[in-house]
């Protein structure tokens, strides 16, 4: 049996504290790209009791995604937006989820992301990462932006870090290991980077970012 909303909220408050939980429940977070980074960010934020997720991806679940992304074998071929919506509803039944099955461009980014307090960049292509970074920081200066660069290969887990670039811009990853050179992406290292991004979102909401 699924717990009631009241039981759900009480459990979150017990583990995370009432003051912080209120901030999480009132937040709207956008995730651009629902692959190894985005699907794992979404699961972490869903478990933390974030009020609303805005999920954007144009792609479908492929067999090659399952080794690091939060999808299941029986979801191959489904749009990632729809598959992740199903999975998140099982994890956090009371969270509000908005999905956009779309390719993010310079032209549609402002419209797609207007409802978000914080935007997570979770694409895999370096040029798409830079495009979204520039468009958000140039045209949406009120929003926080949490991006990722460098989580490919078998480098140390300890080289994944979070850096504050400007007051509103945070960058997670080792900033160097390109999948084109490293040749591989493994679940734990990608999840580490996604965890850095999700945790940065929670720290921003909790007011715990000091430098």
């Amino acid at each position: 049996m699924i717990p009631t909303k009241k039981e759900w909220d009480e459990a979150l408050i017990k583990r995370q504290g009432e003051e912080i939980q209120k901030k999480f429940a009132g937040a709207s977070i956008a995730i651009c790209g629902l692959g190894g980074l985005g699907s794992n960010i979404a699961v972490s934020l869903a478990r933390a009791g974030i009020g609303k997720l805005l999920l954007v991806d144009f792609d479908s679940v492929d067999i090659a995604n399952l080794h690091r992304q939060q999808y299941k074998a029986n979801q191959i071929g489904k749009y990632k937006t729809e598959a992740l919506l199903e999975n998140l509803k099982e994890i956090a039944p009371y969270m509000d989820i908005e999905i956009h099955t779309a390719y993010v461009t310079e032209e549609n980014a402002a419209h797609l992301l207007q409802g978000a307090d914080i935007i997570c960049e979770a694409f895999d292509n370096a040029e798409c990462k830079a495009m979204l970074t520039n468009i958000v920081l140039e045209t949406m200066p009120d929003k926080y932006f949490v991006a990722a660069s460098g989580m490919a290969g078998m480098g140390s887990a300890n080289s994944i870090q979070t850096r504050k670039i400007t007051e509103k811009f945070f960058l997670c990853g080792d900033e160097t290991s390109d999948v084109a050179e490293a040749g591989s992406l493994v679940a734990p290292r990608v999840m580490l980077c996604a965890a850095h991004q999700a945790h940065t979102v929670l720290r921003i909401l909790a007011g715990k970012i000091e430098n």
Partner: protein, 64 residues
């Protein structure tokens, strides 16, 4: 001197675009922060680097 990604360079007076042309950065993969603010892509050729500026070039790599 202009501080770029931590290194002090004698390039005051050059534009950001002129500096980037001397590097291996792929302009399609970067975002540039200058004194705490992002420099719009369209302003790279008009942004003159000043003595004391602190600049960070973020260069994205693939994978996600």
């Amino acid at each position: 001197m202009v501080k770029i990604n931590g290194a002090k360079l004698d390039i005051a007076g050059k534009t950001l675009a002129e500096y980037l042309a001397t590097t291996n950065y792929d302009v399609k993969r970067i975002a540039v922060e200058r004194n705490g603010y992002i420099v719009p892509k369209a302003m790279y050729s008009e942004t003159v680097l000043q003595d004391g500026d602190s600049v960070e070039v973020v260069s994205f790599v693939g994978g996600g």
